[in-house]
């Protein structure tokens, strides 16, 4: 019965979304206040219905209801309960239901935290977001119903969740990523509302910035978690593959990053208005494009969802409607938006512009590389695959250019900065970073390496400029501590996120340059030496998991006479699907990871193994954490909080009014 309740709730949710897409929008033009005000209760209703639907599917998984086709295809009675829950979003249909749930969540969030905005604006924003939701409801109901039954002959046992996805990382990765993707629909909706009104002011920019920050922080975490998952679960020791699906998540992130900065200019200086709107449209369009690429099967990827051309046609039509429609609106309405605020080249605005240009170029390069195989195929140039060398060739120099400028942009003043003021702020950091860059490779590896020197110099440069700036800005007659407390949340957020970028660059550079990797054939008791570590394969055994059997090695890692770590890499065979999975053994550390994965058994008790020592690899994800934390801090800025407390009273009033309807 449960699945039918879920299905029914989904249909009801669709009906509410449809009302919400139409009524408030019409009301905003006819000046009908009740029609506009109904957007808020409808948002709540939509969220509740989506929740019911989602819970119904989750219960079907927990109860091993294999009469539901989707459950039978993606679960198994032997699956541990927590993977039964995460299996809900383990494949296409369920992940789309999660998408709809999160969309409803964002709509409800905007409805709840928008009391200080004019009703017309809120009504239009909620209406636009619901239009997007309607598209996804239709997609779900007509092409990807997760509640479809296999009756009258239900399966006796489920086919099991793809073993790659049976992992903690996957429990959290898709929800975070979708929070980011779908969250970008908020700035998108704000942009459309601004275009419809032909007006955008500082309040608009301030609130759009808040929502963009939130979505951006989620997207950052989601991508980082995906990279971390690929690192330890795929068993190749790589952390980024420039796979189409990774690119699909990275492109909206880059544009959202540009948007966060462009919005800052729009809020503080009123400049870059049409550019900001365009970025908001692009960021969400790239999210949708990502959804299209992953689910339509036009590109091959390690993340292959069950693909289906009918779904592809649907998303493409949806994409054409949403993106084409909004870009057309932009082309017509952005004409009337005046840009104001002149600035000189040595100003924060100018550096924000450079930031935006570099980020958009990076996005364009990735988009080109991702779609090139498709374009080549269509034009009959043969099957081509664009690999990491292409992406690295362009992307790495762009980031190494962006990062030093980022540090400067963080300390520049608006409109105009005196070179005489700026120079002392840069000379000392420059000196320190150059020396650090030159010395570090010698100290670390005993030989000079240009790549290391540049990476370290960039890192040190960003950190020193940043710390010096905090030190200077916190100078206060009332004492240092009070000085530090006077600085705003959005200032700290910015600095923290910039520090995160520097850490990620350092991690990526170091691990790319100094990873030591060895393939070897070992028997029990055999040893492999790699980068000063001895890996002793003490024991091979067979262990039994809940739904798999695994060959497991016990690897003791020695540095000299000292036992550093004991690792247990596994080669698992999942019983239901018969799939083989490599589970790497990882000894983590701030400055290096020890990474062992089992290859093929070679007979006579010997195994092919791969051993890596990966310096600083964790700094990549640490950097991402700092970036997301920075986004969070910026959201906690006083200027949002003050308003919220002031409006708490009216929120309660409204709730009473809503309840009495």
């Amino acid at each position: 019965m449960n699945p039918e309740i879920g299905h029914f709730a989904l249909i009801l949710g669709f009906a509410l979304a449809l009302c919400q897409a139409v009524l408030p929008m019409v009301g905003s033009y006819t000046g009908n206040r009740p029609w506009m005000a109904v957007a808020r209760p409808l948002a709540l209703g939509q969220l509740l219905l989506a929740l019911v639907s989602f819970v119904a599917l989750t219960l079907a998984f927990l109860a091993d209801d294999f009469s539901v086709l989707y459950v039978a295809n993606n679960s198994n009675s032997l699956l541990p309960w927590y993977y039964k829950i995460s299996a809900v979003w383990g494949a296409h249909e369920g992940s789309l239901l999660l998408w709809v749930l999160i969309q409803a969540g964002w709509i409800a969030a905007v409805a709840a935290w928008s009391r200080s905005l004019p009703l017309t604006l809120v009504a239009r924003v909620l209406s636009v977001m619901s239009m997007v939701a309607v598209g996804f409801y239709l997609f779900l109901l007509f092409t990807s119903n997760p509640f479809e039954r296999m009756l009258p002959f239900p399966a006796a046992e489920g086919a099991d969740l793809n073993p790659l996805l049976q992992d903690f990382g996957l429990i959290v990765h898709p929800p975070l990523l979708y929070m980011g993707y779908v969250g970008l629909s908020v700035p998108f909706a704000f942009a459309i509302a601004a275009l419809l009104a032909g007006r955008l002011d500082a309040a608009w920019a301030r609130w759009t910035r808040l929502w963009t920050n939130a979505a951006w922080a989620f997207l950052t975490l989601g991508i980082a978690l995906g990279s971390w998952w690929a690192y330890y679960e795929l068993g190749w020791g790589g952390w980024w593959f420039w796979d189409p699906v990774e690119n699909a998540s990275f492109m909206p992130w880059l544009v959202a990053t540009a948007l966060v900065h462009s919005l800052a200019v729009t809020e503080k200086r009123g400049a870059f208005r049409s550019w900001t709107l365009l970025l908001a449209i692009f960021a969400f369009s790239l999210s949708l494009l990502g959804a299209f690429l992953v689910r339509s099967g036009v590109l091959t990827s390690v993340h292959a969802f069950a693909t289906d051309p009918a779904r592809g046609v649907f998303i493409l039509a949806f994409l054409a409607l949403v993106v084409g429609g909004s870009l057309l609106l932009f082309a017509i309405r952005a004409q009337s938006l005046p840009n104001q605020g002149g600035f000189e080249w040595l100003s924060r605005e100018a550096f924000m512009l450079i930031n935006n240009i570099l980020l958009v170029i990076a996005t364009a390069i990735i988009l080109l590389g991702t779609l090139y195989p498709l374009v080549a195929d269509v034009l009959g140039w043969g099957k081509i695959s664009v690999g990491p060398p292409y992406f690295n060739l362009f992307f790495v120099p762009l980031m190494l250019l962006l990062a030093p400028l980022m540090a400067v942009g963080g300390i520049l003043r608006w409109k105009r900065t005196e070179w005489s003021w700026l120079r002392p702020a840069l000379v000392l950091p420059l000196l320190i970073s150059v020396v650090a860059g030159l010395v570090f490779p010698w100290l670390y590896a005993g030989a000079f390496h240009a790549g290391t020197a540049i990476t370290v110099a960039v890192f040190v440069w960003v950190v020193v400029v940043l710390v010096r700036d905090i030190w200077r800005k916190s100078a206060y007659s009332g004492g240092r501590v009070r000085g530090l407390r006077r600085l705003t949340g959005s200032y700290y957020g910015m600095q923290l996120a910039h520090l995160g970028v520097a850490c990620a660059i350092l991690g990526a550079g170091m691990v790319s340059i100094y990873t030591a990797e060895k393939d070897a054939r070992v028997e029990e008791g055999g040893r492999v030496e790699d980068a000063g570590y001895h890996f002793e394969f003490a024991d091979f055994s067979v262990v039994q998991g809940p739904n798999y059997v695994a060959d497991q090695a016990e690897v003791r890692v020695w540095r000299g006479e000292r036992l550093v770590a004991t690792l247990y890499p596994q080669k698992r065979r999942y019983l239901a699907s018969g799939q083989l999975m490599t589970e790497a053994g990882i000894g983590g550390g701030l400055f290096r990871d020890l990474y062992v994965s089992l290859g093929e058994p070679l007979g006579d008790g010997a195994w092919a193994v791969r051993v890596h020592v990966k310096p600083f690899v964790r700094w990549i994800w640490l950097g991402a954490l700092l970036m997301a934390a920075g986004g969070g801090l910026a959201m906690a800025d006083r200027r949002y909080r003050a308003r919220r407390t002031a409006l708490a009273g009216s929120t309660i009033d409204n709730a009473v009014v809503t309840g009495s309807h």
């Binding site: 002959f153 399966a155 006796a156 046992e157 086919a159 099991d160 049409s274 365009l278 449209i281 692009f282 369009s285 299209f292 339509s296 099967g297 036009v298 590109l299 091959t300 292959a304 051309p309 592809g312 046609v313 493409l316 994409l319 054409a320 993106v323 084409g324 870009l327 057309l328 932009f330 082309a331 017509i332 952005a334 004409q335 779609l371 195989p373 498709l374 374009v375 195929d377 269509v378 099957k383 059997v549 065979r573 019983l575 239901a576 699907s577 018969g578 799939q579 083989l580 058994p601 007979g603």
Partner: protein
């Protein structure tokens, strides 16, 4: 409408959309797993039970056959094996593909546990497995009397799985009998 450059983003998107639309009609992967509804790829591989002899795709002509991919190194194959023996007793023709395995060990396994296979060919390096689109063992393909693949199952074939495959199997058998004058 004096500022026409505002239309540039729209234009770019339209071009992009056209490419995506064309792209939808194409199969990007051409993964051999898409062999469903195509013929069994050609091969000429050693016959496990008759050393020195080879087998080829004509093995699949004239009779509806299950092609089972297995290896002695694969624990689930051990689980699956008794059911295959039972299936063969019901009169289902099964051809084995011994995948990435040692021939001696494989022959011993069949002598020990019973040989449900009408014939078994060796794919020692796993090359043919690539043509066939094998993910791992065990895997089972349903092939009709003309050598066309109709269905692929990844994982163990047991009673429950067979219940799903059987209707299609029976249909194919019926079709093959109609073909026979």
């Amino acid at each position: 409408m004096k500022n026409l450059k505002l239309f540039i983003p729209l234009l770019i998107f339209v071009v992009l959309g056209l490419f995506l639309l064309w792209g939808l009609g194409k199969d990007p992967s051409d993964m051999p797993s898409a062999l469903i509804d195509r013929s069994v790829p050609e091969f000429s591989l050693p016959d496990l039970q008759n050393p020195g002899m080879t087998l080829d795709q004509t093995l699949f002509q004239g009779q509806v056959t299950l092609l089972n991919v297995w290896g002695t190194w694969c624990p689930p194959c051990r689980v699956e094996h008794p059911f295959l023996v039972a299936l063969e007793k019901q009169g289902v023709a099964i051809v084995g593909m011994n995948y990435k395995d040692m021939p001696e060990a494989a022959r011993e396994w069949l002598a020990d546990k019973g040989d449900p296979y009408r014939a078994t060919f060796e794919d020692r390096e796993g090359r043919y497995g690539i043509n066939l689109g094998v993910f791992g063992a065990p895997e089972t393909y349903l092939v009709d009397h003309r050598g066309k693949i109709h269905y692929k199952h990844v994982g163990i074939v047991d009673e429950a799985v067979w219940q799903q495959i059987e209707p299609l199997y029976n249909k194919l058998v019926a079709a093959s009998e109609e073909d026979r004058p």
